[in-house]
């Protein structure tokens, strides 16, 4: 699950947007500047983007731009802004099909706020756990560990691109959170089960919420 990059040309081909749109969105900060990665290739310098992130973002922009002006869009998309004060009830989550009932019933009580509501961060953590459970990578007990890990480091990683590494050695599960881009190297006994870019999931989650 390497973080794939996509060149500017491929991005335009895949999404059908124009250079003008791309640069306009950049100026309006719909596409964050950190995503413009300059790299030298054999034809000279080229700009690349993190594939998953940028495709999800462009998709979101295209879907929403009919109803909202670009400035409104910018305030809605800028990181978790606009969503950070969102609070949902268990019922709303189930209705929107954000995480499965299984996840909700297993962990819901541990993570919900005092008033029984779920914040965006909590929702994100559940969403991460749900994804890993759905892939069959992780079992329910490990999920609890994951949620604790995410919960205790939310503040430090806020607003920074971050990756979650899920590894196992001799059957023991370990979770690691690393601000990206980070490269981790493990000893031979370690098996990397999953590597999740939290930014991708934030993007997907926002898509489901809006």
């Amino acid at each position: 699950m390497e973080d794939e990059l996509i060149s500017k040309k491929e991005l335009l081909d895949l999404t059908g947007i124009s250079y003008g749109q791309l640069y306009r969105w950049k100026r309006k900060q719909l596409i964050p500047e950190e995503w413009f990665i300059r790299k030298s290739t054999f034809t000279g310098q080229e700009t690349f983007f993190p594939k998953m992130l940028v495709l999800a973002r462009v998709h979101n922009i295209l879907n929403m731009k009919d109803d909202l002006s670009l400035d409104e869009l910018a305030s809605r998309l800028s990181d978790t802004g606009g969503f950070s004060d969102i609070r949902l009830t268990e019922k709303a989550i189930a209705e929107r099909n954000i995480v499965t009932d299984l996840t909700l019933s297993s962990y819901g009580l541990d993570v919900q706020g005092d008033d029984g509501m779920y914040s965006f961060d909590t929702l994100l953590h559940l969403y991460v756990a749900d994804n890993l459970l759905a892939n069959g990578d992780m079992n329910l007990e490990e999920g609890r560990l994951l949620l604790r890990t995410l919960d205790s480091h939310t503040e430090e990683l806020k607003g920074r691109p971050c990756e979650l590494y899920f590894v196992r050695k001799m059957g023991v599960a370990l979770f690691m959170l690393a601000p990206s881009p980070a490269e981790l190297y493990f000893d031979e006994g370690v098996r990397l089960i999953a590597k999740v870019a939290l930014g991708d999931l934030i993007e997907q989650l926002k898509g489901r919420l809006s």
Partner: protein, 223 residues
């Protein structure tokens, strides 16, 4: 914006200021700001140095202006010399003279005649550059890009026939690209017109490509 605490600043002659937040700023003469300037209208006739950044709705310049920090504005108009050590962002820019930006310059509508030097990326929905002398930019990107010698240059050419104009850049990418007297490594676009006296390594185009007979294009690729 209608905050009653914000006053106007008017300077006639030679002065200096710590900067701050104002309604209107008008300078006739010379002024040095030692901090950030935040205002609605910024008018200058003369000479100014801002050691912080300049944030304004409307900037009108006649003369020389140096900004250490960045510029963030809705509209920038004027003539003279504008030097920015950091980056510039403006919805509309119409300028005659010399524009120098060390980092990126992002604009909605960018019209300039004279000399432009951009260290980073020059981007905008509409870029219209009339060249007069040697200009350059790291990269250029946007919707419609037109880079041509200005009318003034054609006049000067009659008096000084061996003076040349040139615009140099690494990559130029736009939906509609029209270039004259431009040297670039790569030009990518939808509709591309390579005019006289261009030297381009690679042109990649989607819809159409025209190349003037005096232009040199090493390779062209239809996508």
């Amino acid at each position: 914006m209608t905050d009653p605490v914000k006053g106007n600043l008017k300077i006639l002659g030679n002065s200096s200021s710590a900067g701050g937040s104002f309604q209107n700023v008008g300078i006739t003469g010379e002024c040095r700001f030692t901090g950030d300037v935040d205002c609605v209208k910024f008018g200058l006739t003369g000479n100014t140095d801002i050691e912080g950044s300049l944030h304004a709705q409307e900037i009108k310049l006649t003369g020389e202006c140096g900004v250490r920090g960045g510029i963030d504005a809705l509209s920038v108009r004027g003539r003279g010399e504008l030097k920015i050590d950091s980056r510039m962002k403006a919805e509309r820019l119409a300028f005659e003279g010399h524009l120098e930006v060390k980092e990126d310059c992002e604009a909605g509508e960018f019209r300039l005649s004279g000399v432009v030097e951009i260290g980073g990326l020059l981007s905008g929905d509409q870029l219209d550059i009339g060249l007069f002398g040697y200009s350059r930019a790291g990269d250029v990107g946007g919707g419609t890009i037109r880079i041509k010698p200005s009318k003034g240059y054609k006049l000067m050419k009659m008096v000084h026939p061996n003076r040349n104009v040139r615009f140099e850049s690494r990559a130029i990418e736009g939906d509609i690209v029209e270039l004259e007297h431009v040297s670039a490594e790569t030009v990518r676009g939808g509709r591309v017109i390579i005019g006289p006296n261009c030297i381009i390594e690679t042109v990649e185009y989607r819809e159409s490509l025209e190349i003037h007979k005096s232009a040199k294009v090493r390779s062209q690729v239809k996508l």
